[in-house]
Symmetry: C2
Subunit: 492 residues, 2 copies
């Protein structure tokens, strides 16, 4: 983006119309912060970078910058490259009550790659479908997307650069980057048109803005942002929309996966000891190879209270190098986490290439405890199946191994373990009234688990249901499964 | 770290002594979380990696893992390399109420580099002095550091590896990494001894633990951690210690820097326009070169309310490419930020190589508003001068350009601007009762600013005091100074 005069310099920024919008914008922004709704995500996209930056400056000048997150993205860092493409955007998403000014945002890379012909039409369209899903997930969560295409006519732009280049004092505004931009101008416009065809949804429409005249542009964008803020204020709760036919909440038969498990499976102490040692050896070697190949692994551990998650996780980590794995125990979210889409707190923990991150409880809480306890509204947990599939697909497409365990025990076995824990001084803390309350809702949880497995067990991110009444058997199965999956991935 | 058997397997982990410690640890951990004090940072350092990982597993098994952050560090990512060495540790520091288990932590790299002879003694000692300062800053803030050296005898370790290598089932526990470790054993011990000489302070002493026998080791470490938690619980508030002689809070004459400024300085509209355009051009080119050379820049903007910070920042950013700068407006801290050392929220915003990050208000709030309003206790803001110098020195040593502005206006000029703002609909929000309150404390702020400049203006991170009664002059000076500093840095 070429440097630019400050917005205050433009006379229009002080004329009556703008001062009205300006005052209204401010009031709306304050209301947005106090209501803690939104966020409002403004995407400034266009062939000519000066317009984007200038407009961002203006909005920062007109509103309280403490409530605005302005971002533009250059080359991805290796930390970004080692995670799915959207990670860099998730990590900078504004929180509720805030406004995000994203210059090009997630449209930047694909449009430039398409303009540079390094991205085929098919791949481009798939990227756009992925973007549409992201924007839908954000919008469903109460975010408002204000997507502005700042249109500049190619001829006008060329003339402008020529006149700048002729002025010794302003020549620096018409350097190589600007000229390169101009050469791509037409292709960028074409790529955007293709993008808009897929991503111009009812929830997140595109606004085409004539960016040739600065004041006009400023006023138009500011007005769009104002509308966006008011929209967020008007709809504080996520819109309750009936799940459309198809994947989202469609009626599928839900088999009794848990009932089908043989909980009598067990291994005797002696066999299990050598077997576990052998599996840990396999896991160790497999993770070593996976690391060499930069394969990341995401492990999800879900299961009943006292189902044996902790013990199983420790049997696995005992075979891993502490530098290359991380266990993320999911406790109560912080206020920063509560102020974002529920998947944000999981995105922020995704590990780098070659690493293993183990989630002790996970995003599935949305369709388990949040569903059963009513923390999430039905339309929220229903659409979560789709959001979770989208999330895990991105991991898998990125080459990440996704391993998901449900540690299952019978209701009687759980009772036995609760009692045992209460009898042991240093285990008592593990048993809370909540555990007893959850236990009362056993059948609701069974229904939730069965539906979760039905809707989110995919070929590349399958659920592994672990028969857990015998701890030794369960731990062995967890370590072996992990070793198998890693070995296969490292071989690819 | 080589894989290891899980702690539960060790008989000792269940004997009476340990079950006592285990129960006590749990109770203490709960108390720590509820009291929200600490954090307790446990550093497990030693020549033999297995012992570290095993001990971390044990502590995770014995306590509630949701309150524990376990970390070990491998090769730094480029995002980490592009920031001062401690950034990677700051970004993972546990918050109050939590326990951090750092395997090797900040001692790992220097000790290994020293053992590998890639780090000279002098450089090593300087790194240790830096570490001592970091640990002091954390301890002063209420953190408790439990630094354990897990000692393993070289001969015993060799014998152990040999017996493992002889067992086909356990051979994988004695692979190349373990053998390499063994070869470095003696040098690692020597390097640690050198480290301990500098970093074994009263606030953060070293505990030498015999790691040969697992149960003994587990019990010893657990006991140390328990003591650490209790220490944190016993001293909820940061220890109020009289600042020692020397830099910290020593009595130096504080000249009236602000009074010495000539606030009549001004430029006329016409001259300023072309001059600003010229300086923006210089800034644009300088930042371009700085980016090429990977030079990062940190800009601090402090000043009176209505001193013109925002306008000056926008004049500078108008000449910058939005992909390569970020403005961080410092608003109220989030609860995640409040739960950490006050510098944590600034560390987390440090930018990557070649980038400019502009702090609109900064860590200097500690010695300005927090001092004047009494949010920080005297011993807190007094020691902050030293902490801030340490922080900025790290930036400078890393090659970052540190530019600090204080935008100064006269008390009358401020009044004029307050009134003007109140008269303009879209500027009224900028004036709050707080601003009027602060204004009443003008003289206290003057004293705080003068002392701040005296104590924190260093050769490589100097303060630039800006005569701000004339906005045009102030903006020009800010942009010119920034261009000068960047140009010089890019030339180096």
């Amino acid at each position: 983006m070429p440097p630019r005069p400050s917005p205050e310099r433009s006379p229009g920024a002080t004329d009556e119309a703008s001062s009205h919008v300006r005052a209204a914008l401010l009031a709306a922004q304050q209301a947005l912060r106090h209501a803690g709704v939104g966020p409002v995500i403004v995407l400034l996209v266009g062939p000519e970078t000066a317009a984007r930056g200038e407009t961002a400056d203006l909005l920062n000048a007109w509103m309280d910058p403490r409530g605005i997150v302005t971002r533009a993205w250059g080359k991805p860092s290796d930390e970004e490259r080692e995670r799915p493409p959207f990670w860099r955007y998730w990590r900078t998403l504004p929180s509720r009550g805030q406004i995000g000014l994203f210059l090009s945002g997630w449209y930047g890379p694909p449009i430039l790659e398409r303009a540079g012909r390094t991205l085929g039409k098919g791949a481009f369209d798939r990227r756009m479908a992925r973007i549409a899903a992201l924007e839908r997930a954000l919008a469903d969560d109460g975010a408002v997307l204000v997507k502005c295409w700042l249109h500049v006519d190619h001829r006008k732009q060329r003339t402008r650069l020529e006149s700048l280049a002729a002025d010794p004092l302003r020549r620096w505004r018409a350097g190589k980057p600007q000229k390169h931009r101009l050469s791509l101008h037409r292709r960028v416009v074409a790529a955007w048109k293709r993008a808009a065809a897929v991503t111009g949804t009812e929830q997140a429409p595109w606004h085409v803005i004539d960016a040739a005249h600065r004041n006009q542009r400023h006023l138009a964008v500011a007005t769009r942002v104002l509308e966006g803020i008011n929209q967020a204020l008007a709809a504080p709760a996520a819109p309750a929309q009936p799940p459309p036919a198809g994947t989202r909440g469609s009626q599928v038969a839900v088999p009794d996966h848990l009932g089908a498990l043989d909980l009598s499976l067990a291994v005797d102490r002696e066999r299990s000891r050598t077997a576990l040692e052998r599996q840990q050896g396999r896991l160790y070697r497999a993770q070593y190879r996976a690391r060499e190949r930069g394969v990341s692994t995401v492990v999800v551990c879900e299961g009943w209270d006292a189902g044996g998650k902790g013990g199983a996780i420790r049997r696995a980590t005992a075979a891993l190098d502490a530098r290359y794995y991380r266990v993320i125990p999911i406790a109560a979210p912080t206020d920063e986490e509560l102020a974002h889409h529920y998947l944000w707190r999981f995105w922020r923990h995704l590990s780098r290439a070659g690493q293993i991150v183990i989630f002790d409880r996970s995003w599935y809480g949305r369709v388990l405890v949040e569903r059963v306890e009513g923390f999430a509204k039905p339309h929220e947990w229903r659409r979560a199946y789709d959001e979770i599939r989208q999330f895990e697909e991105q991991l898998v497409e990125h080459g990440t191994v996704v391993v998901k365990f449900w540690l299952h025990v019978s209701r009687d076995e759980q009772l036995r373990r609760f009692r045992e824990r209460e009898a042991t001084s240093y285990k008592r803390w593990k048993i809370t009234d909540e555990d007893w309350r959850n236990r009362k809702k056993w059948d609701d949880y069974v229904a939730a688990v069965n539906e979760m497995v039905t809707r989110t067990s995919t070929r590349r991110a399958p659920w592994t249901l672990v028969e857990g009444n015998d701890k030794r058997y369960a731990r062995l199965k967890v370590v072996r499964t992990l070793a198998d999956r890693l070995k296969r991935a490292a071989r690819r």
